[in-house]
Subunit: 430 residues, 2 copies
């Protein structure tokens, strides 16, 4: 049964993502109406530069006064694709106050203020959906929140940033260094002029916070996520990884502790075995691996960014939110009842690959091994390589806490025979 | 806000899947209550053999009278994990009539009578959910139905039967023949004593019907799905596949035609390039590749069967259906508005790999090539191999309709110089 009065949508932002949302709303209008049960109408489009020509958008709909648009009172759904904290936050809050539900793609805002925004949505009986905020087109929020709602998720391990995956994949396949691979990513449009948010892991950390929150029914914020960028990964690291049958990926990892009483969330480059499904995720693609008690190992794979893919996720949410409105209901809101503590990085337990430059003389290995033992870090393998009076030691450990490993490294640096710690890389996915 | 009156669940069937549903409902009761907003209570368990000892199940709940259980009138949700057409169909229909929503894992029933069951659900304002019916634990129905609701799906390409994937993977990795690999699958519990439903593709065809229906918003039934089993795949086929840089998988393929005006659904063994993400799906795992206009290429991967994984999907649905009930709403029902015609196999367009046994004399290739040309099937590559007076010709075609290919093969069989058609295999995923 089709309702004839259309649902009104306010689009905030009409850039890479917003322009695709508007385009699909127009080209797929009939399908959307059938799937929702009522037509949807673009009621206004807020932008910064009103004079910019926007193909397919009725200029009469364009405004620079986003605030007035969300406060009109006849808007059913606000789609926020401006990005950043302000004015997005105030606009979303105003949307709820004026009776609209909200679909957003804004990971930065959700990771910082998700709890407050969810509370505002709930207070006003409205929906806040944001599938597009994590891994673009890949259905991930909805599967975690709904499909796995009867299961217990223990770990989420994902490649959630396409720019850095493109760079690391380049380094892996061509032997290029970081700067060279970054330059290529920039030239091809995979990296922005200022790539900081991507290469320093801020973008992935925001997504890790959102994923941890949903997976563990626990509030997690950007500040709770340990973050290490990938700018210091070298061609030599890739050679070491290959020797171990691994590659290097920038991973977002959310884990429940063994006793189940706490969780951790972190983003850093890590070695993973070539046999792991994440190892073969190429180019700018994203993929997220989920481990749960009953379902076991699941993987979700697809394009993590781009106008059309991200718009696909936004529109899936738009359909859901519109259906909820017609039903007079709301979808699942924030679920933070478990309220597990988010432990600091020191408590994370994993394996490590450490390269040391050492003096090439007898007894060095014994000295180094003693330091590991004193800190309770058990060694899996050691490889010694001599080169003209200097030598290098490559140590791969068994599972140990980050705190023990840090203590070990600090003590190693103090040894006369250790000239330097060339690299420390975590080993994941085993 | 937690409601204290529990929602009552009737479990029909307590076998491989049902026993895990019951177990998780007990062990995860607190989490389920939090996620739903009300406790859920197992109100009755219908089985065939009442005296069988069932760990963790209160014997007082067990009954052989499934009909009386669904007609009690106080049941909120019926979980049907008996399987087969009857009595499952009558029980589900009775459940709707008596006010319950239904969660089912029954692909055979859904593929045969999905439309009627959806109509019954809608008539009574109840939900019918069945995530577990396709690819076990892998969230697939919900992503297709909800996450991609704002997109246009063009193709679904999946490995949706774990038994056959186990067998084909074995044949690929060890060079074993079909019977040997089947025997191992049986010994390890991956194949049932009567493996017909799996190896003849009936199970995958039921899933293809369900997937096509949801992906294309069109009614599709088991009868609409072209089906070819994998019992005739040989070790020689795998050698041919390897020479082409391919492996062989039993695929369920649902496609929109190029002009968008019709769809097809089919299950058959096919060669796919080793570089395709589906090629590396090992053992009994399932994976489904989805291509859509805006999202591009997505893949969903995980365990396609087993008690606990399937129960995970059932419980995700249970949580959703319970939430809907508390909201006084229903989730998305059948969406068949597009009502596209399902075309017969003859109209499917793909590539083919054909092995012919031919006489080893001059002019044979010219004769064979002429037959292809006469039927409008364009040849990509031909490889000739001589062996003691006999020879074989391996032809790989460009894209052609199944009808043209069938015509070609029929004509080839009539040539004196063609001793036999050793194998015909479709080539997909390019
Ligand atoms: N791009 C992706 O691939 C991708 C993927 C996943 C998620 N996202 C998220 O999607 C959101 C949008 O990203 P995007 O790439 O589409 O950004 P974008 O191309 O920079 O577009 C931003 C849009 O917002 C408008 N805008 C900026 N400030 C405004 C203000 N104060 N009032 C009204 N409008 C304003 C801009 O107007 P003008 O057009 O006049 O400049 C522009 O249309 C971000 O949260 C981002 O993280 C993006
Ligand atoms: N097993 C899997 O991995 C899997 C995966 C995906 C989907 N599924 C689907 O899930 C459903 C159940 O599969 P399953 O493997 O759990 O089957 P199963 O192990 O054979 O269990 C069937 C259950 O139904 C009961 N039953 C049979 N006939 C009955 C009747 N007339 N009235 C009441 N109870 C009856 C049986 O009772 P007794 O215990 O007394 O024999 C048994 O408990 C099927 O639709 C199947 O296609 C299964």
């Amino acid at each position: 049964m089709m309702r004839t009065r259309p649902l009104k949508v306010a689009l905030l932002g009409c850039g890479v993502v917003g322009s695709e949302v508007a385009r699909i709303m127009t080209t797929h209008a009939d399908d959307l109406a059938q799937r929702i049960g009522a037509p949807v109408e673009l009621a206004g489009v807020a932008v910064r530069r009103p004079s910019k020509v926007r193909e397919g958008i009725d200029p009469a709909l364009v405004t620079t006064d986003a605030t007035a648009l969300v406060k009109r009172g006849d808007i059913d759904v606000v789609v926020e694709v401006i990005g950043g904290i302000e004015p997005a936050r105030s606009l979303i809050t105003a949307a709820f106050e004026h009776g609209a539900s909200v679909v957003s793609a804004n990971k930065a805002l959700l990771a910082q203020d998700g709890a407050a925004l969810h509370a505002a949505a709930e207070e006003h009986g409205r929906d806040l959906y944001y599938e597009a905020a994590v891994a673009g087109a890949i259905p991930l929020i909805r599967p975690l929140r709904e499909s796995l709602a009867g299961d217990k998720v223990n770990r989420v391990l994902g490649i959630v940033n396409g720019t850095t995956n493109f760079i690391l994949d380049k380094m892996d396949s061509t032997g290029a260094g970081y700067q060279e691979a970054l330059d290529e990513a920039t030239a091809l449009g995979y990296a922005e002029a200022d790539p900081t948010a991507d290469v320093e892991g801020f973008d992935a950390a925001a997504k890790a916070a959102i994923l941890a929150g949903i997976a563990f029914h626990t509030r997690a914020r950007l500040d709770d996520v340990y973050r290490e960028g990938m700018t210091e990964v070298t061609a030599a690291d890739f050679r070491s990884a290959k020797e171990m049958g691994c590659t290097i990926k920038l991973l977002a990892i959310c884990e429940r502790s063994k006793d189940g009483a706490s969780v951790t969330a972190r983003v850093h480059p890590a070695m993973i075995p070539l046999t792991h499904p994440l190892a073969s995720v190429r180019g700018a693609y994203n993929a997220v691996f989920v481990e749960s008690d009953a379902a076991g190992q699941l993987m979700f794979y697809g394009p993590g960014a781009g106008g059309a893919p991200t718009a696909s996720a936004v529109l899936g949410d738009l359909v859901a939110v519109c259906r909820n409105r017609l039903n007079g209901a709301t979808g699942p809101g924030e679920s933070a009842y478990a309220a597990l503590p988010v432990s600091p990085m020191g408590e994370v337990v994993t394996r490590y690959h450490i390269s040391l430059d050492v003096a090439d003389k007898p007894g060095v290995l014994a000295q180094v091994a003693t330091v590991f033992a004193e800190h309770g870090v058990s060694i899996d393998t050691v490889r010694q390589q001599g080169k003209d009076g200097e030598a290098s030691l490559v140590v791969v450990t068994h599972r140990a806490s980050d705190a023990s490993l840090s203590g070990t490294v600090e003590a190693l640096r103090k040894l006369d025979t250790v000239r330097g710690v060339a690299s420390i890389m975590r080993v994941e996915g085993e």
